[in-house]
Symmetry: none
Subunit: 324 residues, 3 copies
């Protein structure tokens, strides 16, 4: 579809959140279709996890986004989908890969939302493909368990913060979940949640560096808990780490099922977003260093640095491999 002014920031760059939402919609369609392809219980695929994704080149207003999706692995109860997004300038014909994403879906029964139905197996061209898929499946399973632990954390407000401290840029928004945000089962689309997360992370980044910012990458996101229609969700973001030219922002999503439900507020999702600051010519700008004050902030900064160095090392290894 054509990118519209509302999909983009004032510099004309399409929000990462808009792209994540399109990716998720494509993934939900292909996996729901697959899971209903055999006689059996009708079901709807729910997003369980998005693997780390890099935004390779910015998309602009007026360009056409081409989204293609393919199922690459199925376990008994989950589907792995690979989605590719290309931006096409229909005036010049130029095409660029915007990003590639890997998503995991779980099919939930249309009649009983708490029941996970079985996934029809796919055929692999080679045994190798199945083995590699299985390895990815085991890895993401482990990682999901790990992030579940980290979830108690909350973002506390700060009065009169100093510039470039964590408290200075931290932000949160609330959103009342409406019908258009939801699947047939009455739960929020994963893509809607990711769009809100990107919105908050982008505001945190812009408050910190006061320039035009764009999403560079999103770390793996795990969707621990479904969010129901009518909930109020609070999306909060705080900066955790800055390198010379990038900012890492941690985002939490909490759901408040406050009407007709005896349940307490709960943590539904959390993730790390990385942003860069761009000049008017689209060149990366230096980023003011994040000032950490408390012990927790210093620890989170070091953890963020760890993730940053790990990603950098991985990318260099890939480039060396590609060069050989």
């Amino acid at each position: 579809r054509i990118m519209r002014p509302d999909d983009a920031n004032i510099a004309g760059n399409v929000h990462g959140g808009t792209i994540l939402k399109m990716i998720e919609e494509a993934g939900a369609i292909i996996s729901t279709r697959h899971c209903n392809s055999q006689a059996g219980e009708p079901c709807v695929a729910a997003l369980a996890r998005v693997e780390r994704t890099d935004f390779l080149s910015p998309m602009c207003i007026g360009e056409v986004a081409n989204v293609s999706a393919e199922i690459t692995y199925t376990s008994r109860h989950s589907v792995e989908v690979q989605v590719n997004v290309m931006s096409e300038n229909i005036l010049t014909g130029a095409k660029k890969v915007t990003n590639k994403a890997t998503l995991w879906y779980v099919p939930l029964s249309l009649k009983n939302v708490n029941k996970v139905v079985e996934v029809p197996p796919i055929q692999y061209a080679r045994q190798e493909q199945e083995d590699e898929g299985k390895k990815r499946y085991e890895e993401q399973k482990l990682d999901r368990l790990e992030t579940k632990q980290r979830n108690g954390d909350v973002i506390l407000p700060v009065i009169n913060p100093e510039p470039h401290t964590v408290g200075y840029s931290q932000s949160s928004l609330i959103h009342l979940v409406g019908p258009s945000d939801c699947t047939l089962l009455g739960f929020v689309h994963g893509g809607v949640t990711m769009k809100l997360m990107d919105e908050v992370a982008g505001i945190v980044a812009a408050r910190h560096c006061k320039t035009n910012i764009v999403t560079a990458s999103v770390d793996a996101i795990n969707f621990h808990e479904k969010i129901k229609k009518g909930c109020v969700i609070t999306v909060s973001g705080r900066m955790t780490f800055t390198s010379n030219k990038s900012m890492e922002i941690e985002v939490f999503v909490d759901a408040d099922p406050f009407v007709d439900e005896p349940r307490e507020r709960y943590r539904a999702v959390s993730a790390f977003f990385t942003y860069v600051s761009l000049s008017k010519e689209g060149k990366p700008l230096p980023v003011p260093q994040l000032l950490t004050e408390t012990e927790d902030e210093k620890r989170r900064f070091e953890e963020g640095k760890g993730r940053y160095l790990q990603t950098k090392a991985k990318r260099q290894a890939q480039m060396q491999q590609a060069a050989q």
Copy 2:
């Protein structure tokens, strides 16, 4: 209502699809109101057909669209509505007719969506009006039968197409039908479908000629089948014909009721859109000729030429009549 940036292309011209959506909403309101005006079964008017409509002058961001609708004929089971759209520049006060459209609606029972209820007759000022309406009614009935046959056709992807061939510009998008797209009966508003069709047709046209394009006219559109909430719809477009200054694009809408339904994918709507290419000053530009390769493409080109010449002849006849 005031036209916003999201309603328009990057040159500031409001999308034909946005206008078609407003027209359809006005038609649905007036015909639903009429069909419920007598004691009887509550019902909702569903769009069955839109007659050919020409876009007489472009509308721009910031202008106000004035939409007025009037019932011009009723048969036992259908309502003909005439809708006029005027654009008003509230700064200068200038008003222009943007387009006039004729729509046919069929009232479906609120309790049983497969039952068509009876339409209360309207009063005609003169017998002549009723006779002319009846003639239009018979004509559109015939035409609807005809297009039903043509519906088996599909659009196949082409690898590495040459510039200006059919495969070069053909495009498709998928859309998951959400609650806001639907009427009280849970079926997609005809206007929502037409907006998506115009979006795809516009992308096909822009890919072909790489300039700013606007909708010039839409051929009669027949809505053969309803599309239900939760369906995935695939909207595909391919170019069929080019004259010196216009392009004709055929658009198909296929619905995939992939959850909870034993039904196969089916063709819901098809139509022809005509686009022109505009310079920055708003003047029509020459259009590159469409290169046809297969027998089918050549046949469709000839059929498109037939429609083009017929429309041209009709318009000249009208102008001569007006001049006399």
Copy 3:
């Protein structure tokens, strides 16, 4: 236009904010048209103030909103517009007055946004009408000066609040101002701001009483400062007063012009919203009493009580007048 699921809460009642947005759009159109009706500088009408408005009966999904607007007074630099909203059930034909609102607009030059242009005078049928309009004009001018003083106040966050205290329900959201939120001059439509204010106030009310809530009335709203495209706005709400069956919520809008602007965050709007809690049958429910803790909260509660009793007395006086 037809009310959609996205315009309403889960009980099917259209949000007060959606109605306020439609009212403001109608007012902006009629006053911009009037101010450009004489040769002179092209201008766009900007919302300066909305008088207190009561929501007389709820509107539901599927109903059609009929909005009509009329200019009732002009001063040298401002226009008073009266807007009426009727809900129409097109299945039964039943029509009900939803609310009536009075809005004040100021025409700003299209070339120089800081210049207020002159308003062409309207003709009055009787001298009386002009005199009454002038009285209303003087009154609102006074009131606008008053609220400007109260504007320093900020909402401080509370950790682990007790149920039914002010801190328990207070909420805030942030919103990045996009192109579709703005007028031709690049400033946020007053209606967009009011819709966000109603959204926050509704969440505060629902958090307090955990039931289905609807907007009952909105006190006069003054728009002190324009908000520019690209700003981040923070909309915060806190409960100030509860009667047996109603809740009063104070809402602040702060704008943060954080890109490309040397300016500090500023208070753009503030207002009081009143909500009632409804049972599933649409009957008013008792509201838990607000627990006030600090001196400021107690003072605000007393002020809210004053406004509540004043409104009640005014309404009784009107009913007695009507009965005579």
